[in-house]
């Protein structure tokens, strides 16, 4: 892997706390002196967070499809009837 990709892998180990303690201390020291590294790590974390939001969005769509299958089918699903009785 090229250097920039190895750096990402290294930062990932640091973020996920899978890096050995002495190595993590060296990494932290490098972040203190390098604004570039600090920025890269901050944005890498942001991408992880965005990927999680993206994953949740897709999963919610899949769950909604299941919900619609049960609550908007023809003919009517028996569970739909039982649930709606609770709220009427």
């Amino acid at each position: 892997m090229r250097t920039s990709l190895n750096n990402l892998k290294h930062a990932e180990n640091f973020i996920e706390e899978t890096m050995p303690k002495p190595e993590a201390l060296v990494f932290e020291a490098k972040m203190i002196v390098s604004k570039q590294l600090r920025d890269d790590v901050r944005w890498q974390k942001k991408i992880y967070s965005i990927v999680q939001s993206f994953g949740r969005r897709i999963l919610r769509k899949e769950i909604s499809l299941v919900h619609d299958e049960i609550f908007n089918p023809e003919p009517k699903h028996p569970l739909k009837e039982r649930i709606h009785k609770l709220f009427n």
Binding site: M1, I50, F54, V66, I70
Partner: protein, 184 residues
Amino acid sequence: MVCVASAYKLETAAARQELFHELYESSFYTVAKFVAVNGGSFEQAKDIFQEALVVLYEKLVDGKTEILSPEAYVVGVSKNLWNRQAKDEAKFVSLEGDELSVNVSPRQESNVNETALLSWLERAGQRCLQLLKAFYYDKKPVASIGNEFGYKSVHTAAVAKFKCLEKLRDEAKSQSLSYEDFTE
């Protein structure tokens, strides 16, 4: 360690939907009854149940927590979500009563920015987002990601993951310089 996600065969959308369907059939009635008895609506029952399914899925693919009964887990999480929501609403009502204006918290603000950035990245790097989702959200095994995305080896798939991470990070960074909305 046994890969719990594999045990539940959650790697495809069809398999996930099969599990969600089973859980709807087995547990939604219990949750809906709990919400109805506590004065909630059908929509509220639906929302908390779906949120509980998301929590369950993330726990299953993470594999760190042993879940003996997904049904009991989903019902338990739903009830906790309901109780938490009821507490939050009580707080909101008391604030409203005092006619206080509620400012957007820094966390909410950050979410708004993240949503804007996600929408942009969805247009600019859909394949990369899908690949990273497979690795980081669905936590699929590298070999299965290789098959799904057409990589010949585990090493190539791992390299592709970091290339995508670099691409999205750099695009997000450069966009943040153009659009203040994306920065915190």
